[in-house]
Symmetry: D3
Subunit: 206 residues, 6 copies
């Protein structure tokens, strides 16, 4: 399976006098609802090329409302995740969506951690091609390529704009940095470790 | 890409004293919520084998809450669609979900029709591998394999149980049959045609 | 019961500096929310005159957000349906709303078909004056006047803009037409029949 | 229009192994969802007979989920309101639903009051047969028959169980009574008046 | 506890090109969503000073979306309630939100009345410092200071704009007044009493 | 303000034949809905005593549906947070709720970090008594006591069961531990550091 590309095509939509573009995820109020008339555009083309030459070895390509205006008000989106060998989609959460993931190529070790009230319980599974797994809304989760070759997964999320918060990056790479006293006490390390971490380059793969 | 299989794995979940199983699609009230404790089960394995030897030449394999109990209250599900050459996923609607579809293999001609108030406008597109398309909630839509080989698509839907209504089947193959006078007037054909159609075998590929 | 008319009156509403007009059906964020100040207008008058001289013998008069701006964000609307003798409100769906119907005059044979997963089961009932029936969101349903005189029904729908998709019209009368190969295979007829049907005049009674 | 009756028919529904009965108003998770199998029952018959011989001169006949189990999870209900001459549906609110009302017979003076932040503004209108009016969720509203004959209206509400709170009855007729000091200060009357009012018979027409 | 003040600070938020400001309470579509860029503002300062010298002896200070733009789409708000001795927050409803209340200082007698269908049942409780009580959406409720000193409570509501309807004020102090015949029949008093009441000054403490 | 206690009182509720207990956060279907009849119980008493002698120096006392059954279906809850000097409520998220916080005593340095798409931007503010701040659903946030004395805050959350995920604890203290390779790569530290951290005692203050 070479030369995979990922062409995200928007809906070619006639212009309506849609004077408003908003609504919440639960229910649309029209067949569809886009702010911009885009009848000519053949779509948004995102060539993937396994661009996984980065610190974490994985790349997320979203197909959310920012890429596909026609998703507005419809409460769903997609993302493709490419992993090099040992590639990791590091621990993260989606503040506005549950994720359901299917493995297209390769073998992934995946997991999520429940909330404090449920004991910070870790659920993991090794997924092969065709396996499906669910990451409930807001819970910390990750995927690691444990095969010897590239891996590809497709994820669907229950929001037109689910958001992504990569934990380490948001905590140690925020702009500006969080007060080191907060992080030193939270992570049980001394301030030197926090300062060191806050100076690293934090790469967002999504 | 041979021997593709499709293993749907449920979450291996410890039993909680979850006394209720329900909630609506919009928002869960717990991390997750399943009625049945299923810690041992390795998952639900659905071997696909391109089982497209049927009247329409396509097969839909759902991964909804009926297959994955852990989806309960989380508002999302998946389906895999396999098409033989000229295979058709015939015109249908999902009464409780929007669909976002990505082509994994092959070439599909897809489309949906807007509601009466929007002019029964048909939007179509030919999709190749990696293309994404959206079918808004409740609208009639279809996918046709227009390539010379098998095609595979993955669809995500914005409900744990979106439902499927294959139009021709529900109209002409309901049990018991709809009064032929209704269908003759609606479809502008005479009652003989309706009677003929109601005697056909209506195959649901989903 | 002669000379029935149907006057839809909008709310006479003072102008607010309502800077936004949108919200989803579930919950409003204000007492009410309209984009246009319309304090003088006495209302929208829709004279019915039993205008059922059309191919299906029925007429639907909506009172949705397009007719009554004050319905915006409030998640409900009405429609009046007039039937001549043998008049039919042909099989259709509402993509964004459940319908509850009450018969005001006459006798109707009504029904809906469940989704594939529930067996495309047909539920029907003959309704007389005062009878109430429910058509769940997104399911195909119809009403036929089986009395010897005119019939009138009132329907409420669980959306400010539920939408209507008349099945035969959307399938055979879309603009532009659906590829005949799709319809021939879906309806188990040959392409000639499809071509014939696609050339008919498809009258939308709503 | 004599001898009007009001037959509320439930859906005759085959029993499913529906293990859960609940969901919120926004979205169902099945085609329909009832807890009780009721295949034999022909419906619930509520003969109206203009039973308006009561202190307020009006009677409300609900068709909510308590009367029609099939409404469960579908987010809508109906009510019929019969008014004798001068009959009043006294000021009340629906805590869980917006109401849209259509006059079937007679002439009604109707109104609602906005919330404090919107100035306790009163919006009123005299409605004749066929007129439609909207009462937004949670706002105090009323209907008065100002014609010389009986009047009939049909109301739809955006919940399967919208609830009714008749203001005077809830305030002065609660069980047990509210502390009179609360009501005396709130209504700017002395405690004797409150005591007098709390001893009256408070008739709920709904 | 003197000199208590109540400084409501808005989020200091960088301007986004947020082209839309709306959504419903259930679910946001962004991290946050404000129409106005307000990076400099230190917040909205509302000095409380126990300003309870008014007819009801209580003052409500809201922290809703009108005060804190950053609450937009987030489905929650706060209010502080100050009571002088014998101070009353008179019977009222919130049309768009449930209230959860905690007593910060003093002793309150609180209660709510259920809807007609639940028997207009009154639930009351005397709350001391630290006690928590819930007033379900749309139900009539009140709080009375039954201690000898000032009391303070904090209320959270399940909407960015829950609204407040003070019952006596909306009924007898609407602008313009409700037809006295409506109120005389509803409250079982004669028109003179209604006229007297409609001429009073109705003070909204919120 | 000494000897503050925090008595959480449940609603003393008569038993109904409430056959179902569930619904989602958006909308209740009854006035209230509890599974258990608890007419005698005076409430749940949670004495606080400033129990902040723990590693983070803060204690969270929830008043969610687990403590107050009457909150079921009502979409809101409270929590009290006590801080000793330098006490920290460490970085955490609520997977199912937005938080609005008001400072009751003392001075807090608070902040939240936006999602990757919004640049992992940190918003902070120093809050004094009476200040209000909002933490949008799902975003990482924290509060630190920067005064010289104890501090107290009250938080309201937009769910009956918002959940809490303390970031460091869920990441390094999950049961069983996350594969160290995942954490080493995600946090840019070597496996020894991860192993060290995974052996610490992770105290949940909530």
């Amino acid at each position: 399976m070479k030369g995979v590309h990922f062409l995200i095509s928007t809906l070619a939509i006639l212009a309506f006098a849609t004077f408003l573009a908003s609504a919440s995820d639960p229910s649309p109020l029209q067949d569809f609802c886009v702010a911009i008339n885009d009848t000519k555009s053949p779509g948004i083309y995102i060539n993937m090329h396994y661009i996984t030459q980065n610190p974490v070895g994985s790349t997320v390509t979203p197909a959310s409302v920012d890429q596909i205006a026609g998703l507005n008000t419809l409460g769903i989106s997609l993302a493709r995740i490419d992993f090099g060998p040992n590639g990791l989609n590091p621990p993260h959460t989606h503040p506005r969506g549950t994720e359901i993931l299917v493995v297209l190529e390769g073998t992934l070790y995946v997991g999520f951690v429940t909330s404090n009230g449920d004991g910070n319980h870790l659920f993991t599974k090794v997924l092969n091609k065709g396996d499906v797994f669910v990451f409930p809304i807001g819970l910390i989760h990750f995927q690691l390529n444990v095969g010897h070759v590239n891996a590809v997964a497709l994820a669907a999320l229950s929001s037109q704009n689910p958001g992504v918060i990569t934990i380490a990056n948001a905590v140690f790479g925020s702009k500006p940095p969080i007060n080191p006293d907060v992080l030193a006490k939270a992570f049980q390390v001394d301030n030197k470790v926090v300062n060191y971490l806050q100076k690293q380059f934090w790469y967002n793969n999504s």
